[in-house]
Symmetry: C2
Subunit: 395 residues, 2 copies
């Protein structure tokens, strides 16, 4: 067994036969999953055995969500039924509406979603049933509800009366109507909805990333699915996880134009500033998803007649490869397409939630179908045994 | 290096040099911590180097919470200031009050706490600052707010107008006044408050249990402390984690009297029914905490003149050791003391939250002070690569 793992045993550690330890669990296997193959080699990234390249080209987000949950591609009838279920559940209870209307203008969009999903769990009579079919029903309801809650939360916070989604709309169309000023009869709407759909496919699942892992740790106590998803939303919020595409967009806005990009990056590198959208804990040789969304970013830029963001992005990308040998990750060119669509930057991570929700739910169901409590150990680094000192003798 | 870990490499796993894998991360080291030494040997369970036996005898929950957060026992002045901070923060915002008043009678107490803490995060202007001192301030506020929210939620749901805590009360006294019909001038109140205080000390911290680990996974993305605690509450709710003492109490109530205990346990074992309150993922040779709370359970039973629960418990305990060689864990005799106090069973896990919150916050702060993203890998068990099939060719 050759592992890259460090073995360090401080003097006070009580664990006998201490196994090797890898900070951040890097490279450590923490569970089994049939959902996703993360491979930088020939097999590429695959959901349930299907290449993400093929899914992004030929499939829809709803089809991919079905695939992740059920382990098979749907037949025409199954897909129609699945879509109908999602459409029927594009609604939410009054208590969630009360919450959304009570939000202060400073509320963080991810905190709103975290709280809203927690409330949904209070109100669902089958919340605490972790049987397979009950979890499946809850997953479908969440996939219907969360995009609507996301869009309404944005509209209420910003006093937007605008777009109202038609109940026949896809997840991508619903988000586009609610989060942007685009109208469904707008000439480029269909094109944008397709690119957003691709983006949702690409973000849907990525093995034991931190938010999915948090959901599985929670689920392993047999807590309810809403609780596990609440934990995942709380985790995705972190700037080292879900916040990256938003940070990339803010960088592009700060750079402003292509002719300033080269100098901006060189200066940032000189200052040892971290350039967002590059590198990945697992993917060291590049991210196949980045190439897919880059192609869509270029096409959409041309259709919109606005190549500014794409040109800034390719310049930053080129310099980072030249100077650092780093490849862009999925978040990098995603920022270009979201900027073109006019999705407000604060709401990029909630859009990520609407997609990754499919993977999270599939992981929670997989965990609870073959459950084993996730309870690791810590390497003790604290003081050696010491005796209690009465309070009047302390200093 | 001798490890008890299993090494299995299914054919499709893409990870080179695959490390050994232990289901549920059993025995796997997932991080470093100076907070807690879990040892079944001579060194016993220790918080920051201090034996839990000494802390339970000589200390208070507030002192232990200070110790966990600051890494040292407080001086008299530090403890007084810490207590004053907790007392000042025994209040909560109107939005949380609106939530508590809107709860349906079916709401799960843990879901209420999960949602309330999530809302607190929306409303705290320094929620998203993960600097050490900011996290410390938030931890103290939560330690003040959550016991009050717990008690008020109970009173509102059950139409209780009863006990109102005095702002000078300890965490244990506050919970006892809010969750039971005990009055502070009641003869046994002081004794009960002391036993509840011991219980809070014993539940305060236990290394990388599932809820603490979920909090650290969330915190490792640099998400906010409220989000990490929300994830922990969601995780503690699970019946394999925080729900055990409640299940023990329900078992004692079902048994009803000592003379029925022996037959009840034998029948349950014949039916292969799981007897709650025995065994532990880490502690195989018994739990020092169980001996401590057992002693208090016996004393309190005598003082109350009600030895029914204690007698049932010792009978079940004896038979389980005889028949299964299993030792009771902390949850087992805790059920006896909570039954004597009259804490409603549904609210045992929220009381656990009020205690473990101290350990969770200390772990989140420790994680973010020396952060590394927690992102493990999965062992792929899904189908081999397969080609996308157009929808009209599926069956």
């Amino acid at each position: 067994m050759t592992t890259p793992l460090m073995a360090q045993t401080p003097p006070h550690n009580p664990i006998p036969d201490i196994p090797s330890y890898s900070p951040g669990l890097e490279g450590v296997i923490a569970g089994e999953s049939a959902l996703c193959l993360v491979d930088e080699g020939d097999r590429g990234l695959r959901y349930r055995g299907y290449a993400v390249t093929e899914l992004a080209e030929q499939s829809s987000f709803e089809e991919v969500a079905f695939l992740l949950l059920h382990g098979k591609l749907p037949t025409q009838q199954e897909l129609e039924e699945f879509r109908a279920h999602l459409q029927q559940t594009r609604t939410y209870p009054d208590l969630v509406d009360t919450l959304l209307r009570a939000m202060p203008p400073t509320a963080h969009p991810m905190d709103i979603l975290r709280s809203a999903v927690s409330l949904l769990g209070i109100l669902d009579p089958e919340a605490n049933d972790h049987a397979h079919l009950s979890n499946m029903r809850k997953a479908v309801r969440l996939l219907g509800q969360v995009p609507l809650i996301t869009g309404r939360a944005y509209q209420l916070m910003h006093g937007k009366q605008g777009g109202q989604p038609d109940s026949s709309m896809s997840t991508a169309e619903t988000l586009l109507v609610l989060l942007t000023d685009r109208k469904p009869d707008d000439a480029v709407f269909t094109m944008m909805a397709r690119v957003l759909d691709v983006s949702l496919i690409l973000y849907a699942e990525h093995e034991l990333n931190a938010s999915t892992f948090a959901a599985r740790v929670a689920a392993s106590t047999l807590t309810d699915l809403y609780g596990a998803i609440t934990a995942a939303i709380a985790t995705l919020k972190g700037p080292l996880h879900g916040g990256a595409n938003e940070a990339v967009a803010r960088m592009f806005i700060e750079i402003g134009s292509q002719d300033r990009a080269e100098e901006w990056v060189h200066n940032a590198l000189k200052r040892k500033q971290r350039i967002m959208g590059f590198g990945h804990r697992v993917l060291k040789k590049g991210d196949i998803r980045s190439a897919i969304i880059k192609r869509h970013a270029e096409q959409l830029s041309n259709i919109c007649g606005d190549t500014r963001w794409f040109n800034i992005a390719t310049t930053v990308d080129r310099i980072m490869q030249e100077e650092k040998g780093l490849h862009p990750n999925l978040d990098f060119y995603t920022a270009v397409v979201y900027l073109l669509m006019g999705i407000p930057q604060d709401w990029y991570t909630p859009v990520f939630v609407c997609s990754r929700l499919s993977g999270w739910c599939a992981h929670v169901i997989e965990q609870q179908d073959h459950n084993r409590l996730i309870r690791p150990r810590a390497l003790y680094t604290g003081p050696p045994p010491q005796s209690y000192v009465p309070i009047d003798q302390r200093h």
